[in-house]
């Protein structure tokens, strides 16, 4: 008796197994697979662009998160099995990916009036979605004196406590040189030399045992909130989000901010290129692109957006005049070229 029941149960399991293998085929609804940096950025993009687009088009949007770099994209394209339809990139990754044929050329007609975009916001394979900045932040309730310059980040005598840094040579190296006295305008000239890399690493070595490394953009607000660090490198929008939504007593130091464009690109071999193009057209449109700033303090790359944008966010934007006094634009060409070599030295230094 029992054996029969077991056998029929096994048969049911088997049937279920086959049904499941066929499951993906059964899902008929069109899906746009997007990979982005997650966290507060994705939450804002979801409200500003993903949801309205999905509703208007009657499609589903599935997101995945990553922490930058083109290795995974490369692996997909090389295996001829591209899973992502749309990718959110930093500039140097966008340049590298385009160079290596990992992104499809973008049809300029999608973008409408191209003169409305600020200089450098359109690449052959990608279009800028927003402008963001790497800054450092601290918890005002826990700091006796307020840090004001990027040199303060490295001053562990005056400002004791741990430091949070992104586990990447980008921006860490620039800050190390700026804190070591290199003017913003000459940072990349110095960093291009072997001695410059050594100088930056030596400066980082002075605080190495205090550094807590993070990889994902949502980690720094968490590190600040639970007191794991006294100051941390962060993406400005994430700190804004923590202040606004959670009333966290965080403050941003804008001195030495390193700003960059963020990009949309369509991977080579994307399964639904048409839908991805439709999305780019939608999210880059004059009437939609600025809507991101309703939810997070990232600036729009279209000139016309200045009028449309919510004025209350302006002082928190990386581009606000007060914040922009000692700003450095990331040299994406530099990083596209040198990332691999500097990163391997950085990772070796890190592992020692």
């Amino acid at each position: 008796m029992r054996s029969q029941r077991t056998a029929s149960r096994a048969a049911a399991l088997l049937a279920a197994g086959y049904a499941l293998l066929a499951l993906p085929a059964a899902a008929q609804e069109k899906t746009l697979n997007i990979v982005d940096y997650g966290g507060a950025f994705e939450a804002a993009a979801d409200k500003a662009w993903f949801k309205p687009f999905a509703e208007a088009q009657g499609v589903k949007i599935a997101t995945e998160q990553y922490d930058g770099g083109v290795a995974k994209l490369r692996a997909m394209v090389e295996a001829r099995n591209t899973i992502w339809d749309l990718i959110d990139l930093e500039t140097n990754d966008a340049i590298t990916a385009c160079d290596e044929g990992l992104l499809q050329k973008l049809d300029p007609a999608l973008l409408g009036d191209r003169s409305d975009f600020i200089k450098g916001a359109i690449l052959p394979c990608a279009v800028s979605s927003m402008i963001w900045s790497t800054v450092f932040a601290y918890d005002t309730s826990k700091m006796q004196t307020q840090p004001t310059t990027v040199a303060d980040f490295f001053d562990i005598q005056k400002f004791p406590g741990k430091r949070g840094l992104r586990k990447s040579p980008k921006v860490s190296m620039e800050w190390a040189l700026m804190a070591d006295g290199v003017p913003a305008g000459e940072v990349y000239k110095v960093l291009a030399t072997d001695d410059g890399v050594k100088r930056a690493l030596n400066k980082l070595s002075t605080i190495k045992d205090r550094i807590v490394w993070w990889e994902a953009g949502s980690q720094p607000p968490q590190l600040l909130a639970d007191g794991a660090v006294a100051m941390t490198m962060a993406y400005n929008g994430r700190i804004y989000d923590a202040k606004k939504k959670e009333n966290k007593p965080f403050a941003i130091v804008w001195d030495g901010q390193v700003y960059d464009y963020e990009w949309w690109g369509i991977p080579t071999g994307a399964k639904d290129k048409d839908l991805a193009e439709k999305f780019i057209k939608y999210a880059s449109a004059k009437d939609n692109i600025w809507k991101l700033s309703n939810f997070i303090s990232y600036a729009s790359p279209r000139k016309s957006s200045v009028e449309a944008m919510n004025k209350a966010v302006l002082p928190d934007m990386p581009t606000a005049p007060d914040n922009f006094k000692n700003a450095l634009q990331i040299d994406a060409e530099f990083w596209a070229d040198k990332y691999d070599s500097i990163n391997s030295r950085f990772m070796t230094w890190l592992g020692q």
Binding site: T6, L13, L20, L21, I34, N81, P221
Partner: protein
């Protein structure tokens, strides 16, 4: 003599205190998750700022979490079914004294349990990706099935080793065909072992995150994958709510295994 019993008693007390401390170390972090999941703050901060069930509400209303829960069960059940069938059959061969090349085949069969999981994940990506098996349910199910098989092999082999082969011979000598013998005699006797192995295989799949991270796509989010991104990519206390639910689930698993063991014990009472 008296001093001996005195030292013995002292030793026993120290042992009890020490063990109590270790057991608290084991269980406290698992239980602490439950109150923390009712924290009001959006960060994992302590002391708690207030009582709220919002993270449970967030869990229920998020389509990603709903997908992850469904996926975890779908992938877990399908891979367990495969692992259990293949593993049970293999165990029936291995437990026979005539099984050849044992010292060569055993390491192969239990290798999914001991090969570092990152190596497995990277290898599967390398081979599955050109075949279109990455970002597919089929790929994830096959991978999880492979990871689950050693547990089934080990538990069923252990049950078979302690079971009286004469019963099978008796059934055969009475003219029962092998399949009938299997269904009527072998299976009921080893069922608790098979079930234990299946529970282990299911738990392996249910808790697996690294293979999913490498070969799963946006559609194959599972609970562990979602928790990983919850703690890394989008800090979100929903994962504490999920963690609390999983702890309750683990306690349920304990009770199930316990019940199965009880049955196993009564089934093979003459052997113990």
């Amino acid at each position: 003599m008296q001093s001996t019993t005195h030292t013995e008693r002292l030793g026993r007390t120290v042992l009890r205190l020490f063990s109590a401390a270790v057991l608290v170390f084991l269980v406290a972090p698992v239980l602490i998750v439950i109150p923390l999941s009712f924290n009001e703050s959006a960060y994992f901060s302590y002391p708690m700022s207030g009582f709220s069930t919002q993270w449970y509400a967030a869990l229920v209303s998020s389509k990603d979490w709903r997908l992850a829960i469904v996926n975890s069960f779908v992938i877990g059940i399908a891979s367990t079914a495969i692992a259990t069938m293949l593993g049970t059959a293999a165990a029936m061969g291995i437990s026979r004294p005539s099984f050849p090349f044992r010292s060569f085949i055993m390491p192969l069969l239990i290798s999914p349990m001991i090969i570092p999981i990152v190596v497995v994940a990277v290898s599967l990506y390398l081979v599955f990706s050109p075949l279109g098996l990455t970002s597919s349910y089929a790929g994830v199910i096959l991978a999880h099935a492979a990871l689950g098989t050693p547990f089934v092999v080990i538990t069923v082999t252990a049950t078979l080793m302690s079971f009286n082969r004469n019963l099978v011979r008796a059934a055969a000598s009475l003219g029962a065909p092998p399949l009938l013998t299997f269904r009527r005699v072998t299976l009921p006797l080893i069922a608790p072992g098979v079930a234990t192995g299946a529970v282990f295989a299911f738990a392996t799949s249910f808790d697996e995150v690294i293979v999913i991270l490498f070969i799963g796509g946006p559609e194959q989010k599972t609970i562990p994958r979602q928790m990983w991104s919850g703690i890394r990519d989008q800090i979100n206390p929903s994962i504490l709510a999920m963690a609390a639910l999983l702890t309750v689930f683990a306690i349920a698993m304990f009770l199930i295994i316990d019940w199965l063991h009880g049955r196993a014990a009564s089934a093979s009472n003459n052997n113990n």
